[in-house]
Each structure stands twice: as C-alpha cells, then as structure tokens.
C-alpha cells in the first residue's frame, strides 16, 4: 500500500529539513520526499496542506500499568492515547505488578503490544528486583528480552554503591540507566515543592535540593563508571545547571522534561486539585524558566510526558493522600504548541527535535527521522486546530490531568505508525 502526504510543511530536524514537500510512503517506509511528487495510481493521498509533517514523536517515559493495574491503563488504552496524542512510540516504565524485573514480564508486555498495541512499545526494565533498591535485577536478561533502558522510576535507588554497579553492569548493553532523582530522605512525607505555597497551605514540601542532590550523585557515578545516565523528569533549575556543567565536561548524561513542569508552577496547587500532585512536584517560575532554557539550548535532550494514569478514587480525596502523577499523552503536544511554541518561548523545530530525533538517538530506537528508508512513523500537527481539553473524551482509561478545560491552539492531527494510520483528529 502506498500513501502520499501532499503539500505539508515537512520538518525533519535529523536532516535539517524544513520545507513544503510531499512524502511518499510505501511498504511502511519513507520512500521518497520532494515537491510535487507524481502520485502512483494506487496511492492514497492525504492533503496535508497547512499541516506540519514531523518524524513520529517518541515518548520515552510513560506508565502503561499493565500487567497488574489494568483499572488505570492497559497497553491497549495507553497506546490508543499515545496515538491520539501524536506519538508513534512509547517507552513504558517497569513499575507494573509484577514489576518488569525479569524477561518474562518484558515478554508479556511486548506480546500485549504486538496484539493490542496501536503504537510501538519499548519496555524499560527495572534496575533492582521488585524496585526495592536492594539487589540488581537480571539486567542482561531484560536487555535480551528487549528492554531499551533500565529504571526504578517512581523510586530512587538510594544505595549509591548498588547504582554504581547497575551502571557498570549495563555498560555492554548500550542502554542508559534512567534516574528518578529524588533523595527519599529529603522528600519524605512531602506532597509538593517546599516553598511559599507549602508554607501557605500547610502541606509538607520537598526542597529542590532533594532532586539536585541525586542528579549530582548520578552525574558523579556516570563519570566514575563511564555509563550513560539519563535524568528523568528534571524539574529544578539546579538539575539543569548540573546537567549542563556535566555535559560540558563530557559526562554521558542526558535529561528529559515533562510538559507539566514546563508550563505549571507550584501556584497551581492552590486549587487543591490533586491533579497538580506529581513526583517531582511542580516547582517555581524560576525553575520553569531554567527548564525552558535548558530545553532550548540542548541541555535537556527530550520531552517526555511521564504519563501516569490513576483512577478517580486515587485522586479525589485528601491532597496529601492522593496518588502522585498525571496523564499526559493526550495533552502534551497541544499544551506545548500553545504555551511554548505559539508565544515564541521555544522554536517549533526544537520542539519536534526533542520529541523525535533526540529520544531516538538517546535510546538507539528506529525512527526519529523522515529520511528515505526510515520507518514511516509520522506525526502530523495541525497548528491552527483549537480545542478544549475534555478529560471525559480521553482514550486513556484515566482522567487525571491538570489541563482539563484548557483551550489550546495547535495539536496532533494525524498519526502514522509504519505507514499505517493510527489516529486522525475528528475535526
């Protein structure tokens, strides 16, 4: 089957391409790009005029909750949400039940993804058995089974010696260790950032130092071992500064940032809406500015949603008892197009690069480019579509978003995985 994306603005940062082009897709791959391509008689034509054609977006940090917490999300619903949000691939974290700390669980997730998945699914294996932080998981088996990185995300491996060994042990696999950088002794009992809002509301806060201390430790361990450490969901100005300095020294450190940490501050907690509660917490305006700067200058390598579905019952009660985390797949692209790109805070091409080329390189994944011969994973954006976020219409099984009711301009329009249409905006 052949498909032509006709007349869209093609932005492919991996090839420094930003031009109106046609894209011909055949056999699930990018066959040809060019102006006014002749359309094969059997080809389907998509009029992409006024749209932005990008390499498929990769979200390297999601929680699909399967196996074990299917009431929150499943591989099926999570990948449907991904497709609807403009993502062609997701990396799913290991804190399932049972934990993805052995090859059998990885096999299960991949089998589910093959049968029910709508986008590509790359599992991330646990660093330690059962995420307990006490002994290493069978990391080689996990790598063999197809895990593309290792992380105890949701928890921080507090034992530095063990984390050092994890970095060393995984060196031959070429897969990074992803750090949930949170010193559990500094963040114990905290629901939100420590600052003026925690003081006003009487909620226990954790200081930015809870993150910075661990980012610093993990950079030092990466330096010691030569391993690649990736900082998940950076949220502080300190983390940005530490990563920037380490990169300048040649340390193999990369980092990601979430949309919510890029557009919200701790002020949002004043609503008492538990959908403002996540780990790391929403920080301050100064942190947000540093994160945007880091994303722009390349200190932060990619954007990831940390899509963390929770049932209503886990979010509707007392704030300090509510679960940490928010869903993000179906709002991420629109939120950043409207709140960062449209006001000129982040160039569109940078946004696209941080969501396609850069995560693909970071994790050695296929895709991230529209080069001829690459898999035809394509995200097409509509820069003019205006929509109000309606959580009740999410594909995700969960609704825990801080963006409900936001009216956003620009968003995902069409998502293709291997040349196959997996989502098309209704409007």
């Amino acid at each position: 089957m052949r498909l032509v994306l006709r007349g869209g603005r093609v932005i492919d940062p991996a090839n420094n391409l930003d031009a109106v082009q046609d894209v011909l897709i055949a056999d699930g791959k990018i066959e040809r790009l060019g102006r006014n391509l002749s359309v094969p008689a059997d080809a389907e034509v998509v009029d992409a005029n006024g749209k932005i054609v990008c390499p498929g977006f990769i979200d390297m940090h999601v929680h699909l909750r399967e196996p074990g917490q299917e009431y929150k999300e499943t591989v099926a619903t999570g990948t449907q949400a991904a497709a609807a949000g403009g993502f062609t691939a997701v990396c799913c974290m290991a804190n399932t039940s049972p934990v993805n700390d052995n090859g059998a669980v990885t096999d299960y997730i991949r089998a589910k993804a093959r049968v029910e998945g709508v986008v590509r699914v790359y599992p991330i294996g646990a660093v330690t058995k059962n995420l307990r932080g006490e002994e290493l998981a069978e990391l080689a088996e996990l790598a063999d089974a197809g895990c593309v990185a290792f992380s105890d995300d949701g928890r921080c491996v507090m034992n530095a010696e063990l984390y050092r060994r994890a970095m060393e042990y995984t060196l031959p696999f070429g897969a990074p260790v992803i750090s949930h950088a949170e010193d559990a002794t500094l963040s114990r009992g905290a629901s939100i950032n420590e600052g003026v809002v925690s003081t006003e509301l009487g909620l226990a806060g954790q200081p930015a130092a809870a993150e910075d201390v661990m980012v610093a430790r993990d950079i030092l361990l990466a330096e010691l071992t030569g391993a690649h450490v990736h900082i998940a969901h950076a949220s502080t100005a300190g983390a940005v500064r530490l990563v920037r300095d380490a990169k300048a020294r040649g340390v193999r450190v990369t980092a990601e940032v979430t949309p919510h940490h890029l557009v919200l501050t701790e002020d949002a907690v004043r609503t008492w809406d538990a959908n403002t509660k996540m780990a790391p917490p929403l920080r301050t305006k100064r942190d947000v500015e540093a994160l945007i700067e880091g994303l722009t200058d390349g200190t932060i390598d990619c954007i990831a949603t940390d899509h963390a579905p929770h049932a209503l019952s886990e979010k509707e009660g007392e704030y300090d008892h509510a679960a940490f985390g928010v869903v993000g797949l179906e709002t991420a692209v629109a939120v950043l197009l409207d709140r960062l790109v449209r006001p000129g805070l982040l160039p569109l091409a940078t946004l696209i690069a941080r969501w396609s080329r850069d995560p693909a390189r970071l994790l050695n994944l296929p895709g991230g480019t529209l080069a001829v011969g690459a898999p035809a994973d394509v995200t097409i954006l509509d820069p003019d579509a205006e929509a109000t976020v309606e959580p009740s219409r999410f594909q995700s099984r969960s609704r825990n978003t801080p963006f409900g009711g936001w009216t956003l301009r620009g968003g995902p329009w069409m998502t293709l995985v291997g040349g196959k249409l997996v989502h098309r905006a209704s409007s």
Partner: protein, 291 residues
C-alpha cells in the same frame, strides 16, 4: 455588612470586615455563658455534625457546647484513619453524612485542604475546625476576641507567635487574621520549625538558634517562656496566649501558664462564643430562623 459565605474555611479568604463581624457576633453571644439557663432558640431545628477525623477534646467539646446552647441538634462523628486505609473514603463518608441533610458540618482532619474538599463536595455549610497544618480559623477568631477584650483594640498591637510554626495551623490562621486587622506579627522559634517564605504571609521572623533543637530540654532553655524572659523582653502588659494543650515546663513555665499575664482560660471560654457566632452566621445565612 452581613455574612454571605456558605463556609468558614480559612482566615486567608476573609477580609477585615468579615473578621470583625465574626468577632462582634461572638462578643454579643458571650453573656449566654453566664446565664442560669444557657440556651437560646436561635438554631432550633438545625442539625450540626461534628466530623472529627483527628483526636480533639477541647475543640470538639467547644463546638458541641456552642451548638447546644443555640438549641441545634448536635451529632458527633469521630472517624479515624485516612481514605487510603481500609474502609470508607473521606469523600464517601462525607457524602453519606450530607445525605442526612445536616445544616452545618464542622470538620477536623489531619490533611491540609480537607475542609475545602468537603465544601466543594457538600451543599451544606462547612466549618474548618483544623485541617492539617493549614488553618484553624475559629481558634484565630477566639484569639482575636480575647485580644480585643483585653486590649480594647487591634491596630498597632505586636504579636509574637513562638514555637513550632511549621506544623501549626493556628499560627497560619493567626498570621492572616492579625495582619488583616493591622497587627504586627513576628514568628519566633528554631529555624527548623519556621516554614520557608513565612515572610510572604506577612509575618516577621526572628531566629535565635542557628540550628535544630536537639532536645526538649534545649527547646525549653532557649524558646520556653519563663517569667525571667518575660521580665526582660516583654511589655509589662503582655498577654500570654496558647491554643492548648500546653506542654508545661517546655513551651511555658508553669508560673507563666498560670500567672497574671496568662489569658489561656479566657481563650477557651471565648472559644464557645466564637463558635456560637460562626454557627449562627452560617446556619442563619439562608434566612432561616437563626438570629
């Protein structure tokens, strides 16, 4: 001006006029305590539920007496645990209680924001009787009533709030209320018990110790109020107030707690009047028979 709010959740939300209205209303109800028959029919036929998720003797008793003196039907509902432990969640419990059509729910809970959560979920009036380390508005109001009776005015007074400010809802409510009435507030204590950015709430900060407090003995020595310290640092007409329960010998020396400067029991007495005033204004708001 009249009272228009459905709920009393925080001092932060109130303006000076509302605070004075609450204090005036309480002041006008104080004499009921000295009557031979301590009962007025103001809230006859109204139902008040004291929903206490946290151990409390004096606040619950104070609300209960206040409701009963106003002739309301008062029900005490004590629950323990959190919504994450086994059993019914906070919201479910609250909705069940709401289904029984109370007029006012007085809530005490260990979680900050719990009263706000109830106020959004339930159609009846909510009184915050303390939510985590957030606020405890009726305690601040009774402090204000006590201060006005003893000093005759608010404006220009200087209040020092000494001790654990970080975990104190009373301190937060007092800072908001006192600042709005033109008082100067200084919070004092070891730095580990002073929350960050408390200046932004309008309080001044005084540190004396440079580090944490290693022991209660050390706390008592440096931060406990003694007659000697009062003699050296306080005005002769200083008032010593405490929301209770007092850690005698640690926060306050016994001769301070029981001495001539202490108005601690006056606070307790005025607590009933304040709570009567609050219940009256909230339950009477809809043009019912409360007045």
């Amino acid at each position: 001006m009249g009272w228009t709010r459905k709920d009393l959740l925080t001092m932060r939300d109130l303006d000076a006029g509302e605070i004075v209205l609450l204090v005036d209303t309480a002041a006008s109800l104080q004499e009921i305590a000295s009557r031979e028959i301590k009962k007025v029919p103001a809230l006859r036929g109204k139902t008040i539920v004291n929903l206490f998720y946290e151990a409390s003797t004096r606040t619950r008793t104070s609300f209960e007496i206040a409701g009963k003196w106003l002739s309301a039907d008062v029900v005490n509902f004590s629950a323990s645990g959190s919504s994450t432990s086994k059993g019914e969640s906070f919201i479910d419990t609250a909705k069940n209680i709401a289904a029984m059509s109370p007029d006012v729910v007085v809530v005490r809970h260990s979680s900050a924001g719990a009263a706000e959560l109830l106020a959004r979920a339930l159609p009846c009036s909510i009184v915050n009787a303390g939510d985590g380390a957030h606020e405890h508005p009726t305690q601040a109001l009774l402090d204000l009533l006590t201060i006005r009776e003893k000093k005759g005015h608010f404006d220009g007074l200087h209040v020092a709030i000494v001790g654990d400010i970080a975990h104190s809802r009373v301190a937060r409510s007092n800072i908001h209320g006192m600042r709005k009435l033109g008082m100067t507030v200084t919070v004092a204590g070891p730095p580990t018990l002073i929350p960050p950015f408390v200046q932004e709430l309008g309080a001044k900060v005084s540190y004396r110790l440079e580090d944490a407090i290693p022991s209660l003995r050390e706390y008592a020595r440096y931060w406990g109020l003694t007659l000697d310290k009062l003699g050296r640092h306080a005005r002769p007409d200083v008032l010593i107030m405490h929301p209770g329960p007092v850690n005698r010998g640690i926060e306050l020396a016994p001769e301070v707690a029981d001495g001539p400067y202490s108005v601690i029991l006056d606070q307790v007495a005025r607590g009933v009047a304040v709570r009567m005033g609050v219940l009256l204004l909230l339950a009477g708001r809809k043009g019912g028979d409360g007045a």
